[in-house]
Symmetry: C2
Subunit: 462 residues, 2 copies
């Protein structure tokens, strides 16, 4: 199947072998005697050139249909190219137009279209250089993630999408329901969810972590890789309502093992992409963000700096820099602070641990100081936070206290608490937003351009 | 990371090397001089035996805590086993109990628990032989799917979970909303979805196919592997409200290529599981469904029979068998008919094509007879339909007519129709329910037992 793809053909010698090209015409150019059409099949950024002599049978009939956007199946001979831009080209023997295109009215013309415009034609944008490259890089990263964990004996767990619980105790979830919206059943002034599909309130998951912990406490090392949701009305270039997340969870692993795991994982994925997507990465490097390849190579070679939140705050205070958000112990770090630490102070990725407990989730392991928890955030230059994780609280009573302290309902967490009663162990994990990582790797500025069909406020097309 | 797992240790010689065992005590047995504890870490069905002499330091303190369900970290020497059931065992040097268990009150006792009971403790069931094996087999199959398509140059596409369209024109979808359920905004008697998060009605996807077609018509070969949803109130052992589906979509591929692709794919996955999960498969073969390995091997060796629906109906009529649902051209095949064809007539998988158009979806390619469409269903012994697919209608006008004929709104399909205007090509694809395939491979009877956290009517626990 790989053998009949253009990527493969372009790697061959022009030895007159017979080939069949199947793909879409990207451009066309005419000289007096011949027409050159460039055909792409999505296997590579590069097109293969087909050189059609005007003496080709039925040329006059074929000619007006050989336009930008049309799909073709062309049998021909692979020969050395006369031109300088490619080493091989195809001399056709048989040309079939499998699907016509209106040519000039085809929405993708040979000019640069804005990403905004391309979002409006998301059904055609994968046929452009940029979005073809994004799709291939996304695919390579996705496979790399599965390969990485598979090689290390991690078990992939499909945690549920529809959930009855609220992982982080935060709101901002989408409701899932089959109740009739125009006449929601009310009993005693309350919505009667007993009549809903699941017999109770249901939402879209914000994280698979709590469920993944169940499996980590049975199979030791597991990971999730699936869609997660936020009903936040953030209409920015960094937020999506629906995005994919990778969440490894490891038993018999403390915060130090967690940091090692995160650092090793990121470096593996970056290496994999540079190795397997060199053409596409060269495109991003020259057309989207200059120097990005060097940038990623630098990350791969760096030992990530590891500091506590308190040390980070000290660095920021010491800098005497005028931040928009003044620095104070206890505050959450803002993008400007994260960027300052990675770009100015350490000039490489930084893992910050031991955050104040009040700005972190209930499930994080409490330190003995009574003030901080074993959280870790991995910050990278340009992007800021790319990973958030922690060692998990594995003491039943401490966890219960924290749940109550934060005003959550302990009954909702009965099974999560029970995991601490039956052979609990130190365990840790983290979450990584897949689209953020793709942005980091490709340099694409808007997160809506690294997912096939973005969902966000007022955006639900295609 | 693989090196410190019990699966690996059990494959070694007992050469006195130092090992560290981390896992959960599955059973304990005492003789006069020694205690035997069997430790499992989820890497394999098999436990490793630790032999603790009563003279072990602090034995009396440790002893009551070395119970079923407790988690332990044990440093020791790997030695040849005295017993016959294992080739190696561990003589401990240092024992750390990382998490206690209440022993007799631990819900998993050394007896066979019913699957019904285990569903109620889904946070503990992965610690049983059966559910550990299911998790490992599910993981192996999941990886095999990604590997299969990656090796063949298919691009993995993450199609959207939240959708504004309804792929099959069928109802039964879950609504996704952030509207306040107790006071849904009504304007002119209609629900005002302009106030909802996406500004219009939103649901959970029932299939990624239509979106996948977009990418197939740019990158040629793509696949999805993600969660899909049905709000059907089918409380059976074969239905889930949330399940995972694999949907490849191939351009320049007709129904014959589609059949080849489906047959090759299934055989690859079966071979992969038999090769990579031999211990777990031996367990299913002896404890869950006798003969299942032989059964799968038979499928791998078979050439799938390929017949048309009309031929299938003829076979059924010819049989003169008394079916519960009498056979008649035009009806949908029921389980009893599918089983008869695979188990009685052909004794192997059967691919049935060219179904009556009235029982199939709008997007299937219409045959020239005006009555049938290029649908295909792959039927397998025991299970029945495991794959449904088709060649897609790629003629703009035929597709538009069919959409209107079926009472769908053509505006909702504007981009799907446009794909037939701009370089359309013959293309095909299919969908395979992942959980059904796992049931087929493992012999597990209830679909709720092959997904970590099942969702169905009134079932939304964990």
């Amino acid at each position: 199947m790989i053998e009949n793809r253009i990527k493969h053909m372009l790697s061959l010698e022009g030895d007159n072998r017979e080939v069949v090209i199947e793909g879409w015409i990207r451009t066309r150019r005419d000289s007096k005697e011949v027409s050159f059409i460039a055909v792409n099949d999505g296997s590579t950024m590069n097109n293969i050139q087909v050189v059609i002599d005007r003496s080709f049978p039925d040329f006059d009939k074929l000619n007006p249909r050989l336009v930008n956007g049309a799909s073709v199946s062309i049998k021909g001979k692979l020969v050395p190219s006369q031109g300088k831009e490619q080493s091989v080209e195809v001399i056709p023997v048989e040309i079939t137009i499998t699907g016509d295109s209106p040519g000039d009215e085809y929405p993708l013309q040979k000019k640069r279209h804005s990403f905004e415009f391309l979002r409006e034609i998301a059904h055609l944008r994968p046929r452009t250089n940029t979005f073809g490259a994004v799709a291939r890089v996304r695919n390579a990263m996705s496979f790399a993630i599965h390969r990485y964990y598979n090689e290390r004996g991690f078990v992939n767990i499909h945690t549920p999408i529809i959930t009855g619980s609220d992982c982080e105790g935060a709101g901002e979830m989408f409701r899932v329901t089959t109740l009739p919206m125009s006449r929601v059943p009310i009993t005693d002034g309350e919505i009667d969810y007993s009549k809903d599909f699941f017999g109770k309130e249901a939402s879209l998951t914000v994280s698979g972590q709590l469920n993944a912990e169940i499996y980590a406490l049975a199979l030791k090392n597991v990971y999730t890789f699936g869609p997660t949701f936020r009903a936040e009305k953030s209409n920015t270039s960094r937020h999506l309502a629906e995005f994919w997340m990778i969440e490894p969870e490891m038993a018999f692993c403390d915060i130090n093992g967690n940091m090692d795991a995160a650092e090793d994982f990121i470096k593996y994925i970056l290496r994999y992409v540079l190795e397997h997507c060199s053409e596409d990465m060269a495109f991003f490097n020259s057309m989207i963000e200059k120097g990005i390849i060097e940038n990623l190579e630098h990350i791969i070679k760096s030992d990530f700096e590891r500091i506590t939140y308190t040390e980070g705050v000290d660095e920021l205070l010491k800098s005497k820099k005028n931040f928009e958000f003044p620095v104070k112990w206890g505050m959450d770090l803002q993008s400007e602070h994260e960027r300052f630490l990675t770009q100015e102070v350490f000039k490489k990725p930084v893992i910050v641990t031991d955050y104040p407990k009040d700005i972190k989730a209930f499930y994080m392991k409490q330190n003995d100081d009574g003030k901080t928890v074993r959280a870790m955030d991995v910050l990278v230059p340009r992007l800021g936070e790319i990973i958030g994780g922690s060692e998990r609280e594995n003491d039943y009573n401490k966890l219960l206290n924290r749940i109550e302290e934060m005003g959550l309902n302990a009954d909702d967490y009965w099974w999560y608490l029970e995991l601490r009663k039956y052979g609990s162990v130190p365990h840790s994990g983290f979450g990584l937003g897949f689209e953020r990582l793709i942005q980091f790797v490709t340099g694409m500025q808007n997160i809506r351009d690294v997912i096939p069909f973005p969902r966000s406020v007022e955006t639900l097309d295609f």
